[in-house]
Each structure stands twice: as structure tokens, then as C-alpha cells.
Symmetry: C2
Amino acid sequence: MTEPRQKALEYAHTNPQAFLEQLIALCKLPSISTDPEAKPAMQATAEFIANKLTSIGIENVAIMPTAGHPVVYGDYLHAGDDAPTVLVYGHYDVQPADPLELWNSPPFEPTLKDGNLYARGASDMKGQTMAGIFSVEAILQADELPVNIKFMIEGEEEIGSPSLDAFIAENADLLKCDLCLNPDAGMLGADKPTIPYSLRGLAYFEIRVQGPMGDLHSGMFGGAVLNPANELARLIAGMHDANGRITLPGFYDNVVELSDKEREELSRLGMDEDYYTNLTGAPELFGEKGYTPVEQIGGRPTLDVNGFLSGFTGEGSKTVLPSKAMAKVSMRLVPNQHPNEVEKQLKQYMTENARRGITWEVVKHAGGPPSITPLDSDAVKALAKGMEAVWGKKPLYYRVGGSIPVVAQIETILGAPSVLTGFGLPDDNLHAPNEKLTLDPWYKGIDALIHFFYNLEG
Amino acid sequence: MTEPRQKALEYAHTNPQAFLEQLIALCKLPSISTDPEAKPAMQATAEFIANKLTSIGIENVAIMPTAGHPVVYGDYLHAGDDAPTVLVYGHYDVQPADPLELWNSPPFEPTLKDGNLYARGASDMKGQTMAGIFSVEAILQADELPVNIKFMIEGEEEIGSPSLDAFIAENADLLKCDLCLNPDAGMLGADKPTIPYSLRGLAYFEIRVQGPMGDLHSGMFGGAVLNPANELARLIAGMHDANGRITLPGFYDNVVELSDKEREELSRLGMDEDYYTNLTGAPELFGEKGYTPVEQIGGRPTLDVNGFLSGFTGEGSKTVLPSKAMAKVSMRLVPNQHPNEVEKQLKQYMTENARRGITWEVVKHAGGPPSITPLDSDAVKALAKGMEAVWGKKPLYYRVGGSIPVVAQIETILGAPSVLTGFGLPDDNLHAPNEKLTLDPWYKGIDALIHFFYNLEG
């Protein structure tokens, strides 16, 4: 008789087309969490996930309301008290798709090309969410689950998970677990299985400045009235010094420096200047002096303008002195920074530097602390072993530049560590036009997760 | 028998309602010259002006094509060779009306309230253009014209008159004149008849910067990739020093300093800091150190951001590292600066200061040199006398912050000085939502122009 693990892997290998068709159906749903008009699509997407969980035998499936978009929950708790309980995290929401004109195929009409699936959310993270579900489906088809499992698939990750904190706290008993599997990270390459051991946090703000009461004629008033767009540009420019360091008061006070060992490990990833210029098309890199690109992205905090709007931006010319300017500015944080501290630092900077010819306000949109996952935990070891079985090589460990606030929330509220994985690639165009998922490592990832659950058994 | 001048004034005083109705009809036409979709409205507006000129007896009326929007021409040349020939300038185009949501009444549905007519273009300058035409209508109803007259009403002033230079050069014989009456300036107050003796020039650019090839995830790349929005903000911030002086290389080399006499005259206008803060609602003024507000606006050059766009500017948050940023930046110029020189200075600044993590281009949208009009010319004296007859006081003379490139073009190509006037007020919301024309000074202005034409006779 075939070993259950082998039967589960065979099931997965027999059903790639079915897996793909289900992912395509999911990616057709425009579940843009930041868009108030996308609420029906959000509901339909939650129902899609709930129906899928039910169809593979998951129990207690429910679409649970929050202050914002609902969470899809389900569990299967038949492995006994001695087996670990794994909370599988995912999110069914996606980023906005604009600018639409830069997509080669419509963002919500999933399109296969050269082994990739192009669609908004294909990689971030409908593909990863479904990989987790398919791996459990494969095991359940072959065998009983070797672990107890709970699913928590949220709908607000792309807007900073504003309701999840309260949801986890209110449902702490329901969600109680020994560890969380979070496949919202990615791989460094299709043949480079990867376990990220650190995530940056996020603090996302909108800075609004107002000068005159209304837009003015730039000839009749220009020269005597402080221009809010010029002033906001000056304030933003002053947030960095010439070496690319951030000047908000106290910004680096709690930053833990990279250890020599970490810097050595990161240098082995081969992600050098050429790697990033080729990947991004940037003419040249620029970052904080004294750090390599992979250190700047994984181990150092940032301050980026995500959006800037003022005055007349249409075709041609309009000689207006705008009354307002707005910038979306976000910081990526590293241990041990905290978004609440950064908010204070930003406001202090504005208080100290803004000229009195404008008024300003800082609105917080999203935030989550950074985190580090222990490399020597059973969970990480189980995943590493699974990856080695599939790819035939040990995984790389590295620090992720992105933010997954839920990792910190689960650790804080449920006391459970998260093991991070994911099977997207660096050129997947996350949050950008032409997002794609490369299918080969995605299928391998499903196998690796099957191994992971069996390896956890002990 | 009543004096002809008196008969003309009586005609004007008998017909205020007819004048107003015609202005309202004209303001209903959305002649936005920068909007490619407004071409039919532009044509309809040119036809409206042409029909009006024909109806009052102007001869040789023609809608003359240019590379852009057409010019309306007409003349009445029966005063003899000894009488001066006056070219009456106007423009029938208007600024865009956005942001539409800030208008209290629709911009192209002229609305009367408290003695004001609210509409895009009511003050700038459909009202002023019609004041010139009504004054000639009044004289022609009463008498022969005491001067030879030509009308040149263009359709591209609000986009910097790109076709007018060539139009004037190609039609120099047709447009030949002794002086130009240009009512595209304004008054300092309803009871302050005003003759502006200087105009600032304009140099209007769009700066486009590009970093990575496409938008990036700010977590996965932020820290190592130069953010085009941050960089453009830094470049714009660096265009001023802490004293509000512009840092483009050589920018002040050709600037003629205000004389002590001019500064004394300007100080008599009563346009102090309170005047401008009350008018604009700005919390506090800010301008070049060492100059008063009226000097900063009339006699000193500026560099203002007219528009800034980058990344995600919708509702909520999107953690994008934008690939592009765009700013519309324009300079108001004073004698003897020239827009072509300023273009070189801006490009030199960008070459010297832009980091190599971005590429950039500077596109010129519009430009016109500054000008000064002689105070002791016959034309200015004729207008001053006319204003004194209507308002019972001598006019004020001051320097205008706005730009009227046609004044320099007419002086350069036709060798004719321009006398500037206009009956709009400083709070008319030119180029902004809720533009209005206050009717009382506008009616007085029609009378003053009737006097002007008779005074010119000698």
C-alpha cells in the first residue's frame, strides 16, 4: 500500500489543470478592498473561498463579519490533542489595478502566457491562498490530516488589515493554534526555495497641506503666497539627508543594526546591484549609504512617497497656484521600530519644519510592526525539509522588505509564531500592472506544503 | 444738440440689461482652449464674437485660421489718416473649470448674485472683451468713430498664445496700428481705477521623471530604488533657497531691480500683508526676503508648482513605489528676463542636480517675455483722463504680476505700445472655481473706454 504522503502528492500531480481552473475563476473576481464600489465582488470572493473549503471537507466554514470586509473561517480538528494545530492564513483581497492602460491583458481576465498566469491577485495572494487549500485537499483525498488545521482568510490585507486585530482578539479561542502558516511571502527565484525570516513593518500616512482658501492665479499672487505644492515638496525633500538617511526626529533610535552574520548571509543571496537594476529597469540604484541593496531592502527602514497630487495635472498648462497638496507617504520599518512611534516622529517633523504659510494634517491609513521569525523552530525546519524534498536543495533564508502585519498580530494576540513561505517570484509585478504567477514553482509549492504538514507530525 | 460723447454715454446708460444679457450668452459657451474636446465650443464662441462685431457695424469681420484656435478680426477705418489707429485686443478662450465640485453654481451657467456675475471667463476676459466692443457700439450708435479701430480677439491666451506670434507676423500689414488697447488687466478695487504699467512674463514647463520601468511594490524594492516622486520633490525643493530666492543658475542675472521711486509708488497702493492674507485666506504670506508682497508680485520673478502628480492618489492606501512623477512648474518673469533663457537655466539645474537613478525631460508648454508700458504716452494719458471723468479720481499705476505675452508680441512685431486696462477685481477668482465679474465697475469701465476713444482724438 502506498504511503499516504505519496498518495497526496499523486493527487496533486494528477490535478494541475483543475487547480489552475479554480485559481482562474477566483482571479476573475475584482476583490479590491480599498474600493468602496467593490463590496459585491468582495462578498462573492469570500463565498468562493468558503464554498471551496466546504467542498474539500473542511468543517465549521463561516463567513464571519468584521467592521470591514469579512473573514472566511473553517477548521478540521481530528488529529488529536498531541498533534499540532496550524492556522493557515491567507487574504482574498487584491490591490487596485490602475493604471489600467498599462496592462497587456485586462487585470480581471486571467490570461495564460509562457507558463505564467497574468491577473491582479494571481501572485498576491490568491495563488498562494489556493496553494494552501489545495495541499490540504490533496491530503484529505489520500488520508486523514496529520495535524489539526484552521483557515483564516481575510479581506483587508491590502489596506493594512484594519479589522483583523479586533477579529483575532475577539475570536482568540476559535483561532488558538500552535503556529501559523503564512504563504504571503515569496521566493527569490523559481529554483530557489526560500524561507524569509524577517518582515518589515509599515506605517502609511497621508499628509495634506492647505495654503490659500482656494486656488489662485499664479500671476496675481505668485511670489507672496506660499505655494502648498512647493512647500510639501520641500517638506518631503527634507525627510532624507544627502546620504539617503531619514531625518524624522528619533527615527533610528530603536532600529536594530544588522549583525555581521546576517550581512554575510544576505551577501550570499546574489541579489546585487545588477540584479535589482535588471529587475526594475531603474537607471541606477539609490539607497542609504553604507548598505548593500539587499540590506537596504530587508534590514533598513525607508520613507517613500506612494502618491502626490496637487493643482492641475491634465493636458497642457494652467497657471494656477494650487490651494492644496496631498502626499501619501509610507515608511517600511525594521525591528524594533513601531508605527505609533513613527507617527509621532512624522508629526514632530511637520511641527518643526512646516512654514506658517500653510496648515497641515497627517492622517494614518495603515500600520503594522516589523517581525522576525525564529530560524530554529520546528515549523521552519518542517518547511525547509519539505522544500528540500521537492527542489532537491536547501532553502535560502532572507529578510523580506514587505510588510505582513498579521504576523505580528498573531504573535502578540495568539502567542503563535508564523512560518512564512510563498511561491511567487520577484518579477511578479505585485501591486503594479501585469501582475503574474509563474505556474511551475507554484505547483512545486503545493507539493512542498503537503510535505510540510506531514513533517510537522514529528 | 448733445455732444457726440454725451450721446454715446447715454446709449450705454440706457442699455445695461442688453449688455449683460449678451455677456451671459457669451459666458454660456465653454471655450476652454486647452481642452481638445472643446473645439466646437471654441468655434461657436468665435462666431458669437464675429456676429456681434458685424451687428454693430464693424467691417471686414473674419474668423481667421491659425495653427491652433482662430482669431476674430474686424475693422472700422473711417477716421482719416490723421487719426490714430487703435488695435483692440481681447481673447474669447477661458481656463479649465475644474475642480468642478468647488463651484457654487455651474461654471458655464452664468449666475447673478449680489451684483456679481458668476461664470468661468466672466472676468477673464469675456467681460473685458465685451466692454471694449460695447464702448465702440455706443460711439457708433451716436456718431462716427473718432479713431480708426481694429479688433483682434484671439482664442489661445489661456494656453500661452502659441499661434498668435505667427498670426501677428503674417498679418502685420492688416494689424498695423499706432497703439493697442488691451483690457486684460484689472483694477485694484471697485473704486480704484487702475493703469498697470508693467507685466510679468511667463515660462511654463512640465518636468517628467522616470525611475524604474514600472510601478514597484514599496516593500519589495523600497530602500534601494530611487523613488521618482521623492526625487522630483527634492529637485523642486532645491529650486528655492531658505530666503525664497530661486536657485536656477543665472536666474537673476538679467533681473532689473525695482527703483527706489517704484518701491515708493508701490508702497502707496495699500496692498500690504493683511490685504493679501484677507484676499487669499493664506494663514501667513511667504515670499522672497527683502521685498514687500506687492513688490514680490509685481517686481520679482517666481517659480511655482502648478501641478504635481505621481503614484496612487485615490482613496485609501496603496503601497506602490511609483515609476514616474510629473510636475508642472512655471516661472513669472520680470524685465529683462526671457523665457528661452529660463528654459536653459532650468535644464542646466536638472542636469547638475538630478540623481542618476532617474531619467528626466523638460517640456515647454508656454512662454512670453515681461514688459513695461511707458507712463507718459498719449494713450495712457487718454485713458487716465477717461477714468478720472468716470470715477472722479486719478488712477493708480502699478505693476501686474500676471502675464500677457501679446503685449510683448505687439511691441516687438508691430512696434506699437499697449495701454493696459480692465475692470475686473482682485477677488474675481481668475483661473479658480467661482470666477465672477462685479457689474458696477464693469459698467463704469465701458464709460471710461468711451471717454478714452474721444480723448485719443487729441
